[in-house]
């Protein structure tokens, strides 16, 4: 009997989608790769600073276990630990693979991989290719997938939009409904499984560091079909971005990794040329408040500090919500060599040369730690069983997710240079599990009655046709902008319940306005207008997930900061005390006087908070609203403890 070749549908051609495609092709599978645009233009190109792997080439004593610890600590212990640990253990092999694929990683004088420092760690763990690491990694995977395309194993459907999964009578995913963005034709493709590798949802916030395709529609569509969405409220605000009318461009953390210093003039509204402001009149607030990590505190910490300096202390540059990111003390040659790409971006968009003048930057929405819920199977030794079909499967059987669109790995806050890693890791890691999923299927898509596919197609044809005929008063692009503004005003760095409630009301109003929208284009060729309305529909649902999750979670964890629920860590607190406290508790009551004054009380508050809130937020679609529940987090490997980055 001829062996049946498995066939998969991968949605999205960024790092995760391409890594999955390459891995599946290596196992002789056939892949249909679907993307809004040529996959080489995917949002992964925007990642700048680097990719983490504890290879320890500098004798610092780094190890995958340290990388694991830094990552779960950076995420405020909200990530499932076996997955994070497995990723960190795979990281060195991933870097070596990418190097073999030809990525132009920066080199040491001996010709080995060079590493630099990034936020949230004290080790040089970040491999980099100039300051366009994401672009370089993406190109390497794009080239491998092109090779498989050349050999006939991959069929690319570029300029196509994923609308939903095709579910059979048992709710098993058997394919996908697609929209040809040129002809407007809606059709289905069949496969053993569908992998969503559709990236983050930052467009929900309007102006962000995200690309225009990062609209979150695919994962929201899965949510609307019954998939669980997890930790939606954890949105990373990157501390350093460049303002713009069309988007906020990222200024990589690597600028600080290469010595960049954040400061503001000590005097409010100081209008002097920054270069003339003497050292003693500058407030290096990150270095002063965090002597050990300095400018390389994790992003949630840095963004909160900037917010505090700019809004509470009113020390923003020129009275604006901006601070200086200063590289002028480094030599021009060094900067060109290590950071060329990002400094060019700054010059091109502001007209100023960051090698000569301090950059003016401010925080911007950047990354979603949350995403579609995915499963995993550990091997009993604190790592992952790579053969398990459960790995990266959503709560819909046969529908998988990988990359930024899943919720694993980063907990409540992602560390810099871990996203490229998690994207490639998930794409590669899920390969064997997907193959065994196909092999163990009792029935295949060939056995599913064609009416299942026809009905899915017909429903979507009708739905998109309906959008096209909408002739109300509202402009969908204006609606999109309004939605972004609601979230930016209410669901950002500092969160308050009254404002979150207000935001939910406003989002519901938006949903009402969406019913009165006008489809701005009713022609039949290359018309994005009906898709735009469909995406907006999804984004409004996603805005509800994010906001409802934020409202429900009454604590301060990672990027989710509610001052009302700050546990007020004592200034002289040492996180190891908590480990000691937990150990002592196992042998009976802990005497308060065993710890410095106030510490035991703080630790009790911390413990109680974790009992209630150290849980994954799960959103499920019920009655057009997200219904929130909570799920245990696997913290079996490292004792969660208070974070501190002094």
């Amino acid at each position: 009997m001829r062996k049946r070749k498995p066939h998969y549908i991968v949605i999205g051609g960024g790092l995760a989608g391409l890594a999955a495609t390459m891995k599946l092709c290596e196992d002789k599978a056939k892949v249909t790769l679907v993307s809004y645009q040529p996959v080489k233009r995917s949002h992964s190109v925007c990642a700048q600073g680097g990719i983490n792997a504890a290879i320890d080439t500098k004798g610092e004593g780094d190890s995958p276990e340290m990388h694991f610890y830094d990552t779960v600590k950076g995420g405020d212990f909200l990530a499932n630990q076996p997955l994070v640990r497995d990723m960190c253990h795979q990281a060195p092999a991933i870097i070596h693979l990418m190097d073999r694929l030809g990525v132009a990683f920066n080199r040491t004088p001996e010709g080995h991989l060079e590493f630099r420092r990034f936020g949230g760690t004290l080790y040089s763990r970040t491999a980099f290719a100039g300051a366009t690491t994401g672009q370089q990694l993406l190109y390497a995977l794009d080239e491998q997938v092109r090779r498989y395309e050349h050999d006939g194993q991959v069929k690319k459907l570029e300029w196509h939009e994923y609308l939903s999964a095709v579910l059979d009578s048992e709710d098993i995913c058997r394919g996908a409904v697609l929209n040809d963005l040129r002809t407007g034709e809606i059709f289905t493709v069949k496969g053993d499984a569908v992998v969503l590798a559709t990236g983050g949802p930052s467009q929900v916030y309007g102006k962000t560091t995200g690309s225009t395709v990062c609209n979150g529609a695919a994962t929201t569509s899965a949510y609307l079909q019954g998939a669980k969405y997890a930790n939606g409220e954890f949105i990373q605000v990157h501390p350093t971005a460049i303002p713009g009318q069309d988007k906020l461009r990222l200024m990589s953390e690597s600028a600080r990794g290469e010595g960049g210093r954040i400061w503001v003039p000590k005097k409010a509204n100081d209008s002097r040329d920054p270069l003339t402001i003497p050292e003693e009149e500058r407030y290096y607030f990150l270095e002063e408040n965090h002597p050990r990590f300095g400018n390389l505190v994790p992003r949630d910490v840095a963004s909160r500090e900037i917010h505090d300096v700019v809004y509470n202390k009113e020390l923003g540059v020129g009275g604006q919500p901006m601070v200086y990111l200063d590289l002028t003390h480094q030599s021009a040659g060094f900067l060109e060599h290590r950071l060329g790409g990002i400094l060019d971006i700054y010059s091109k968009f502001t007209g100023e040369d960051p090698k000569k003048v301090p950059m003016k930057i401010f925080p911007a929405v950047h990354y979603s730690m949350g995403g579609i819920w995915t499963d995993y199977e550990d091997d009993g030794n604190g790592l992952i069983d790579h053969q398990s079909p459960r790995n990266q499967m959503t709560s819909i059987q046969g529908l998988y997710a990988a990359g930024e669109c899943d919720y694993q790995f980063h907990g409540a806050n992602r560390l810099g240079a871990n996203s490229l890693l998690s994207c490639i890791y998930t794409g590669l890691m899920m390969g064997p599990g997907l193959i065994s999923y196909s092999q163990n299927l009792r029935t295949h898509f060939e056995d599913v009655p064609s009416t299942v596919f026809d009905q899915a197609r017909d429903q979507w044809q009708e739905r998109m046709q309906g959008f096209k005929q909408m002739n109300g008063k509202e402009n969908p692009y204006v609606l999109h902008q309004d939605m972004g503004n609601i979230l930016l005003a209410n669901v950002l760095i500092v969160r308050e319940n009254s404002k979150l409630e207000n935001a939910l009301t406003e989002i519901n109003d938006l949903e009402t306005r969406l019913k009165d929208v006008q489809c701005l284009d009713t022609t039949h060729w290359s018309n994005p207008a009906p898709s735009m309305i469909q995406q907006l529909h999804c984004q409004i649902q996603l805005a509800k997930i994010i906001t409802r999750g934020a409202l429900t979670r009454n604590e301060f964890r990672g990027a989710h900061y509610k001052p009302e629920f700050d546990l007020n860590q004592p200034k002289d607190f040492d996180p190891h005390e908590y480990v000691e406290y937990i150990e002592k508790k196992q042998y009976g009551e802990v005497q308060e006087e065993e710890f410095p004054s106030g510490h035991a009380a703080y630790m009790k508050r911390f413990e109680k908070c974790n009992e209630r809130w150290l849980k994954t937020t799960i959103a499920e679609h019920k009655n057009n609203q997200p219904e929130i529940s909570f799920e245990e987090v696997n913290t079996s490997l490292v004792q969660p403890r208070p974070r501190k980055y002094d």
């Binding site: 290596e26 925007c46 073999r100 080239e143 090779r147 395309e149 040129r182 713009g244 009318q245």
Partner: protein, 250 residues
């Protein structure tokens, strides 16, 4: 001056690949730090021409908006470039937007550049590895060599070099500078070099390097300052050597 507060755009539009192009003009309120993309986004929110005619929003191609994806290439005031880095303050008005002329039209400012990706397939622009399994480190590469490769690997397949090239036309097979430069990149890599002969054979055929007219405009318009003419010269040499090898050794 009231004119200062307004951004004027003149956009060449075309509804379908086989219909006639036409021009529309738009006036938008001035915004600081505006670029061509933000203007097109403003038109989406208020799709009305200068004469008050309600029209469909302009179609264009874009994604990253920070000049690393290559999508938003168009001809702006007669010059081919990315529209995200086209800052309004630096452009004489009216700002004239036209689609790339060397690629099949899709709609308005959006064209089909799949020919560029097909060419990458033809020249095997990849490093052929044994497999993705963990077989250890990659080859040792000097920093100098790495820096040279990095310059070439920043090519985002945007098409500027081809739009400017007098040799590259809609109906010929010429591969153009970006493809040749990629051949150089992969022939330079220690593992990639193992397939260099095949790559060279491909670009010695019709549409290959011999068709280059040496106009040298490609390098002038490259947004990433890739040394394209240097690549062409280098690949030219490599093909000459290959030609001699073919003559005497095969």
């Amino acid at each position: 001056m009231p004119d200062d507060k307004i951004i004027r755009l003149k956009i060449k539009r075309q509804d379908q690949p086989d219909t006639k192009p036409y021009w529309q003009e738009f006036e938008l309120p001035y915004k600081p730090r505006a670029n061509v993309i933000s203007c097109l986004m403003d038109i989406q929110m208020h799709p009305v021409t200068r004469d008050g005619q309600k029209v469909t929003p302009v179609i264009w191609d874009c994604n990253c908006l920070e000049e690393v994806c290559g999508s938003c290439t168009m001809v702006i005031n007669g010059k081919v470039r990315q529209s995200c880095t086209a800052l309004v303050d630096a452009l004489p008005q009216p700002i004239v937007l036209e689609p790339l002329s060397k690629f099949p039209m899709v709609r308005d400012l959006h064209v089909d550049r799949s020919r560029m990706f097909e060419n990458l397939k033809k020249v095997k622009a990849w490093v052929h590895i044994d497999g993705t399994y963990d077989i250890g480190e990659g080859p040792v590469v000097s920093e100098k060599q790495r820096a040279k490769a990095y310059l070439l690997s920043e090519c985002m397949t945007c098409g500027c070099c081809l739009e400017a090239c007098p040799q590259f036309t809609k109906d010929n097979d010429f591969m153009g500078a970006s493809t040749f430069s990629q051949v150089r990149l992969f022939n330079m890599h220690p593992t990639g070099a193992m397939e260099s002969e095949e790559r060279l054979e491909t670009i010695m055929e019709t549409g290959g390097i011999a068709d280059c007219g040496n106009a040298q405009v490609c390098v002038e318009v490259c947004p990433k300052k890739i040394p394209l003419t240097e690549s062409i010269a280098e690949i030219g040499q490599q093909t000459t050597i290959q030609l001699l090898k073919n003559l005497f050794l095969k």
